[in-house]
Amino acid sequence: MRFWDILLMSLSSLWKRRIRTILTVLGVVIGTASIVVMISLGLGLKRASLEEMEKYGSLKSIIVSEKDSYESDEEEGGRANKQTLVHLDDSVLESLRGIEHVEYVYPELEAEVMLLAGGYTCYTSVRGVPTKDMELIGLELAQGGLPEPGDTQLKFVYGNSVIGEFYNEKTGHGYWFDGTMAPVDLMNDPMICIFDAEKYYNFIWGNADESGNVAMPKKYMINAAGVMAGKVEDYNSNSNLIYCDLDLLKALLKKEFRGKAIPGQPTTISGKPTKEIYYTNLVVGVDDMKNVQNVQAQISQLGYSAESNAEWVESMQGQSNYIQLALGGIGAISLLVAAIGIANTMMMSIYERTKEIGIMKVLGCDMRNIQGMFLMEAGHIGLLGGLIGVALSYGLSFAINHFLGVSQMGIDLEGASSISYIPFWLSALSVAFSVAVGMAAGFFPSLRAMRLSPLAAIRNE
């Protein structure tokens, strides 16, 4: 039998029972539309979260730090770790530069700092980065500029949230406590900085240090170079930090903590400070997001702790894949119901046509052709339902994006204007899927039709 004839026969049979066909198709329409809309919501969510993450701009960089000594203790059995524990210095920096796909490496040195300004105090971190590499961080400034090469004085670039950290020395209240902003002008007010906070508190509380002295630590007057753009509440990875030149910071720390261990710096076994000041982190910039994991693995292999947003992105994406799967699963239930509807319709059709099928078999219609006819019928129900369902989904998706506006969802999705998003592959895949579901549902009925006895045609009803 010719393919075209099988097709025409199955179509004419659908047409003959068009009311039932329409009802069955309707089930598939609802099933397909619910899957597509559910998945489109998941996809919209995923896209929005990726756009949100991209705002942080650092999806292509890896933060390298020293491996936690506890970790290596366990791994190495405690004895060998003194040698294997490698601190971050310029030679490490150079070796990381040699890794393939690495575009740049710059060091970071972090220290704690206390800021005092007109009765207000703030306790935060200062991060030194070589002035020449500061452009790479991608800071957006509202006031001032970055430190200039050749500066001889340490200058601070304040994060936009730092101002919120100031609290009144007497009341202890600050912005995060009661919403009153400290009257401090970071850009222009003279800022008194204390790096040795321990000594400061010892002085305040009157405790003597090892040498029996109760002395005020040195106060440094440090000017601002700039302030980052953004409101106090606008969080990003830099908003709580103060940036400054690394070499100047290093020199200052060396002077300030002469003969003492610097907080956050490695010490020798006996607790004595090491000779050198090591970097807190090395920031490795990779040429492409897809190479991040690979480079990260290589760095970990070298014995450092390496972290990147690639993991975060991946876990976020994994999470949204789960959400999507769950949403798709909910939609799939209605398609399953529709599939049962198809199977039912096909069974009915076969019961009604028992005699007709018998006649065809007596007249020599190939059994596989009979099966083909019924499979095609079921497949067409799936196809029609799938096509209309996808069309309906586009309509629903439009309605969702249009009427359930972004603002109503309470998420701030700048640029990501759609909650529901149907890519072409999704619509193509779901049409194919509903055809497959239709044919699967029609498979057992079609087997039954194929196996019906030709004698049904002979017997008089």
């Binding site: 039998m1 003959k16 007596v362 007249l363 190939d366």
Partner: protein, 242 residues
Amino acid sequence: MATTPVISVRDLYKIYRVGDSRVRALDGVGFDVQKGEFCSIVGTSGSGKSTLLNMLAGLEKPTKGKIVIAGEHMEKKNENQLVAFRRKHIGFIFQSFNLMPSMNALENVALPLTFQGVSRKKRLEMAREVLTLVGLEHHMNHKPTQMSGGQQQRVGIARALVVQPEIIFADEPTGNLDSRTSAEVMELIRRIINEQNQTLVMVTHDDHLAGFADRIFRISDGRIVDIRVTGNAKKDLTRKQH
């Protein structure tokens, strides 16, 4: 003339099991049918006529015995092969016409050609030709519901003829028609058999209609009890009987 018979049946048994009892629907049947011969099978109700015909047409499996049609052993074929065999070699005329209600006369006649994979143009042309032969040139576009019983059965006959089968089977082809129409249809069948040298095996319980055939097999309780050659038979066929 030493032609091999179109149908050759030997030692054919069909035993149905109904609960604990066994029904011997066919109880050792054997006969030959020559090319161009018109045989009718008569017998009382329940004697096994339909069972015999169904087995000849490959619609049922024999319990035991040999059926050779057009040189092929029917009892050795599986269902798929039987369908394929019917498609190529066998025409079938039903008692209740069994036309497809949604198709007109022309499409109904062309249906078996569709199963053979003949192109639409060619099969409609062939169907038109055969419908003219059975005298329905003015009813080609009529649906079954728009035709009388006699006309419907003529469409049924045309449908059996259109594939130019080796052999045609008919189970009480006039069973649903009144006696005058029955006679007309039988005359038509007889004329076509003669003109086209077709082979036909027909089941009937009407002795008068059986008389249109060349030979009459009488069946009783699953056995052939009598074979009678009528005056219609051509001489060369008569001579060959045993």
